[in-house]
């Protein structure tokens, strides 16, 4: 009996969590007038190809100039660029902190640690002004690099490097390996799983950025899908029959890649999440 109640609770949980995602997808396959008349849909509508074709390839749609495909490309650039940048910067920094004895080590560590205290949301306006002084508005580097200014990845690799046995370094040094050789031939291959795990987390994080792209990109050719949501809602207000189907289609496109990444790389994702945030 208890077993059935457990399953019942879990099924209610799954419906609550996945229901809106499924409904968003199903609704996107109906046409706008139908949705306007009958509300959200739970069944297949048959307009899948038209709607998604329109959203992906036709200029205009919501923003007037940009296609869904261009936004999809920008989302991938932001997601992958952010993840790669984060991994490179934080691996190098963690290597410097853990494997070298130098006077400024502790100072640097605390300076990096402090960035955990202040999320980007708190300092948006001054960050924006710094960016416009540096002429980085509407560039990919302006979109990606400032997001790298936090300590999460560095902590993660620092933790991992500390757990690597000291004997490895001793052996490598006896064999005559210098700092570069040790890093590239031993530490990097050893961190493969860690890198994969943090890549998954950081890709999702980068893909899902909203506030920063909103401020940094005014030129529509730099819009990401998540950034495009804002435009969808602006078009919404005041139109007679809003293009619900297209709005849902764009939302589905914005959700799908990160959801797939999380599902396919689930074990890496959970590892990355539970080990990086501590």
């Amino acid at each position: 009996m208890k077993k059935y109640i457990d399953h019942l609770i879990l099924i209610i949980g799954v419906v609550f969590m996945m229901g809106p995602v499924v409904v968003a997808f199903m609704t996107s396959t109906h046409d706008a007038a139908e949705i306007h008349m009958q509300g959200l849909m739970t069944t297949w509508g048959g307009h899948f190809a038209e709607t998604y074709d329109e959203v992906l390839f036709e200029k205009g749609g919501f923003t007037g100039q940009v296609t869904g495909l261009a936004m999809l490309k920008n989302s991938f650039i932001l997601g992958i660029g952010f993840a790669v940048g984060k991994i490179v910067l934080s691996m190098l920094a963690a290597y410097g902190i853990v494997y070298f004895r130098f006077r400024m080590g502790v100072v640097f560590f605390w300076m990096i640690f402090t960035t955990l205290l202040l999320p980007l949301e708190v300092r948006i306006l001054p960050s924006y002004m710094v960016m416009s002084k540096l002429h980085l508005i509407d560039t990919y580097s302006g979109l990606i690099v400032p997001l790298l200014a936090s300590a999460t990845g560095t902590f993660y690799f620092r933790q991992f490097f500390k757990s690597v046995p000291d004997e490895l370094l001793e052996a490598a040094r006896i064999d005559g390996a210098g700092p570069f050789k040790f890093f590239i031939d031993i530490l990097v291959p050893l961190s493969r799983n860690m890198v994969a795990a943090i890549f998954v987390i950081m890709f999702v994080y980068g893909w899902n950025q909203y506030l920063w792209p909103m401020l940094m990109t005014t030129d529509e050719s730099f819009f990401t899908l998540v950034r495009g949501i804002k435009q969808i809602l602006l078009v919404w207000v005041g139109s007679q029959i809003p293009d619900y189907n297209q709005a849902f289609a764009l939302a589905v496109l914005a959700m799908l890649p990160p959801i797939l990444v999380v599902i396919i790389f689930q074990s890496w994702f959970i590892k990355g999440l539970t080990e990086s945030d501590k």
Binding site: G96, A149, N208
Partner: protein, 293 residues
Amino acid sequence: MKRVQFSHPYLPYLFLLPQMAVIFIFFYWPSAQAIQSSFYLEDPFGFGSTFVGINNYTDILSSSEYMRIAWFTVWFTVLVTFFSLSIGLLLAVKADAILKGASAYKTLLISVYAVAPPVAGLIGVMFFDQHIGPFVKFAALFGWDMRIGINYYDTAIAMITIAVWKQIPYNFIFFLSGLQGIPVSVREASAIDCRSGLRRFWTITLPLLSPTAFFLLIINMTYALFDTFGIVDTTVKDKAANNPITLVYKVYMDGFRGNDLGGSSAQSVILMIVVFVLTIFQFRFLERRVHYN
């Protein structure tokens, strides 16, 4: 620290250079600017600024509008944290208890983690939409005329629901991995000693989970304070007038819509202090009262 380390005159600096450069330009510089401009009054047309001391701060803290938003933020944070933690915990306990289908449930329950807050907001807004929203139709059955974006409390309810929905997977993952970290011997011993499942949960499982719960408490508070920006933005649809907003949203509104640089910066500094206190609280005060094994 390591027993064996390299020592080199400049190499460690070289390794740290990229990270430190990014942090200096994009973290310390803007933060310093925020603190500096919080003491100045910027001319709205861009003709210079005047030093006004702590006027920006006193203006904010004596403004009844700011206080109203601050109270809403507190309530929002408390409710979002409470509901997303308890639902996450309930689902994790159930997923840990069953044998069949556990991994399918797990996959389905964590997927929503990957949905961006504004996308969650967009979908949520559709569910609460005046024309097509099933929640509005459902509420209408009970004679409740829900008007998101117009009625203050209805909008607040929608915002909290969406924010909780988005955060449940995160809490679920951490509670589940915490539960699976409890040794089998402890579970068996407690099962022998105590037949009541509910009592076992309160006296054995929950205390053992308290480090996880405590960690999640802080994470959820920061989530509700900062990461919900996208949800607030999509729910109020740029018309913040009578709608509930959080303090972070107010920083954005005043800075980018109102062009009030000084006021917005002062609000940033106030939030910095809140985050700072929260972190100190995390390290000093609460950790002592948590049971560790």
